[in-house]
């Protein structure tokens, strides 16, 4: 910019003020939530000093332990299934000339993002409740299946991005050196793709872990995950125990998302 200029081209009246206010508002509610998790008293209204009491209570609560374990198991299976399926689908839909059905595949894979969650949730309720009656099976399989489906587009995204930015010459070199298709894939493509696959898995894991709506409608009795357990608790008179659970959950998500950013940023 020219020296000696006093007129700032970029400034707009009150914009910085509104922006800083917005950032303040984004973090104020979370700060309040975190603060009350450390309240020594059992009321959500009165502050009675700092303590870790509610973290211990939450950690010792059997229903919370079960829900947390169930959340982790579902997220693990769903993210694994979604990542494997998404990796295969990404390989099938990139680095090719357009072929018949390609657009159809894109639309199909991204469909879970287009429909409101509550609509998918009741549609799954309808179908799964009938399957439950027919087969008598009411295990976690339904939740894993539902979660796998809506995790696929999230896992697909970073894997596909990675594939599209990948250098083809290394695979060509492998083929020139008489590698079979499978050898070229497992020794060249897959290692190069690994950061994308890890990022896709982590994204799918967080998405599954966070889900409230579909889980709430698909779960059978006694199959609460951590989010649906919290949703149930919010109906009652709450204690800071729920804040403590929320803070632990929050911390875990932030760590995972930060890790995701670093994995995803690594250069090809």
């Amino acid at each position: 910019m020219a020296s000696g200029r006093t007129f700032d081209l970029r400034s707009q009246p009150a914009f910085s003020f509104v922006a800083l206010f917005t950032f303040f508002m984004l973090y104020l509610p979370i700060a309040a939530l975190v603060m009350y998790a450390f309240n020594a008293g059992s009321s959500m209204a009165v502050w009675e000093g700092v303590s870790l009491r509610w973290f211990y209570e939450a950690a010792g609560n059997e229903r919370v332990q079960e829900a947390a374990l169930r959340s982790a198991v579902i997220a693990m299976f769903a993210a694994l299934t979604a990542t494997v399926a998404a990796t295969m689908a990404a390989i099938a839909t990139t680095r090719t000339r357009p072929y018949r059905g390609l657009t159809f595949k894109y639309a199909f894979i991204n469909q879970p993002l287009m429909v409101p969650e509550i609509v998918t949730a009741v549609a799954l309720l309808i179908v799964f409740s009938r399957i439950k009656v027919w087969t008598g099976y009411s295990g976690l399989g339904y939740l894993v299946a539902a979660h796998s489906a809506f995790c696929i587009p999230f896992a697909y995204l970073p894997i596909r991005a990675r594939l599209e930015n990948m250098d083809l010459s290394l695979e060509t070199a492998a083929a020139d050196l008489y590698a079979t298709k499978w050898q070229a894939f497992s020794h060249v493509t897959l290692p190069l793709l690994r950061p994308g696959i890890i990022a896709g898995f982590m994204l799918a894991f967080v998405i599954s872990l966070d889900d409230v709506v579909i889980t709430e409608f698909v779960k059978s009795g006694g199959q609460d995950t951590l989010p649906t357990y919290m949703l149930g608790q919010l109906r009652r008179e709450t204690t800071p125990e729920i804040n403590a659970i929320a803070v632990a959950f929050l911390l875990f998500s932030v760590v995972l998302v930060t890790a995701f950013f670093f994995v995803n940023r690594r250069k090809v």
Binding site: T22, L33, M114, E117, V213
Partner: protein, 307 residues
């Protein structure tokens, strides 16, 4: 003897077949646990409702669709508009529109602020917007409850300052839902706005000032038209999930202030009217598809302008 051309076609055909096999697991999972059930729901919407939920399988009826907008009087069987449903439809659309406008009013200056920071600090500001975005929706809703409940920060602060004597009852009102939706969906407005502002060419802004435009005029005639794709994308990204919101109105609106998502749940729960619930769900989906269509057409048009 096969010619070279035939071999090439054969190889290409094999390649496409391999690609279908590879994508089969993803397509099957999504068909079984996402798309297929939507078609089953469509079928359920035209069946007779069961006495204790579910439907009477195979008995067809359009009652579900009829009750989306109309009701029969229990006494004289006259047909009237279902006011309860209409008011929930109206509330959903109204609150979603207001949410979109408020997030735009807050998000536009915020995105502009980020885009005009020095390049190395921009990433930090963007990251600050991304963190709440990745935080669990339920936790953010619950956090908003901490702010607006009767003993929450907002009321405590205003009483301390002497603005009010009695706490204002915000929980379980439309205002509470609005607070929650603005808070939860704000990052969805800021991120696409920022993406288009980052590319803003400030030489055009400079040209405006050289021609004696005021700041407001530059904003209105140069900046806003240039970032219009971001405004449209952000608005759609906020409007669509607002319309289908379920958790926020359930937690902050309670039973008093329902939105479409809660009306749907009611039909599958205490209402025991699955065909009606299915019909409302399909209506909601159609509304969302319509909004998406507007977006796609708009994106295609602005793409054509630049191309």
């Amino acid at each position: 003897m096969t010619s070279a051309a035939e071999i090439v076609t054969q190889v290409e055909r094999d390649d496409v077949r391999a690609r279908w096999l590879l994508s089969a697991p993803a397509l099957l999972i999504i068909f079984f646990a996402a798309i297929g059930p939507l078609f089953v729901m469509l079928a359920y919407s035209v069946m007779v409702k069961g006495d204790y939920g579910d439907v009477r399988f195979g008995e067809l009826s359009l009652d579900g669709w009829f009750s989306v907008l109309f009701q029969r009087d229990i006494f004289d069987d006259t047909i009237g508009l279902a006011d309860a449903h209409l008011s929930i439809f109206w509330r959903s659309v109204k609150l979603s529109l207001i949410t979109t406008l408020v997030t735009l009013a807050l998000g536009f200056p915020t995105a502009y602020f980020i885009a005009t920071r020095p390049p190395h600090t921009r990433e930090v500001w963007v990251f600050l917007v991304t963190i709440p975005f990745w935080t669990n929706l339920l936790i953010r809703t619950f956090a908003m409850q901490e702010v607006i409940r009767n003993e929450g920060i907002l009321n405590t602060l205003m009483i301390r300052l002497g603005v009010i004597d009695q706490p204002i009852q915000l929980m379980y009102t439309d205002a509470a839902i609005l607070f929650g939706m603005v808070y939860v969906y704000l990052p969805l407005m800021v991120l696409p706005l920022y993406a288009s502002m980052e590319k803003l060419d400030f030489r055009l802004v400079e040209a405006g000032y050289d021609l004696y435009a005021t700041r407001l005029r530059v904003l209105w005639r140069i900046i806003i038209p240039l970032v219009r794709p971001g405004i449209v994308a952000g608005s759609i990204l906020v409007f669509i999930p607002s319309l289908g919101a379920y958790v926020i109105p359930r937690v902050l609106g309670g039973g008093k202030s329902m939105m479409l998502g809660n009306l749907i749940e009611l039909q599958f729960g205490a209402g025991r009217n699955w065909p009606l619930g299915a019909a409302i769900s399909i209506t909601l989906m159609a509304m969302v598809m319509l909004a998406l269509l507007v977006y796609v057409r708009n994106a295609a048009r602005s793409g054509a302008q630049h191309g």
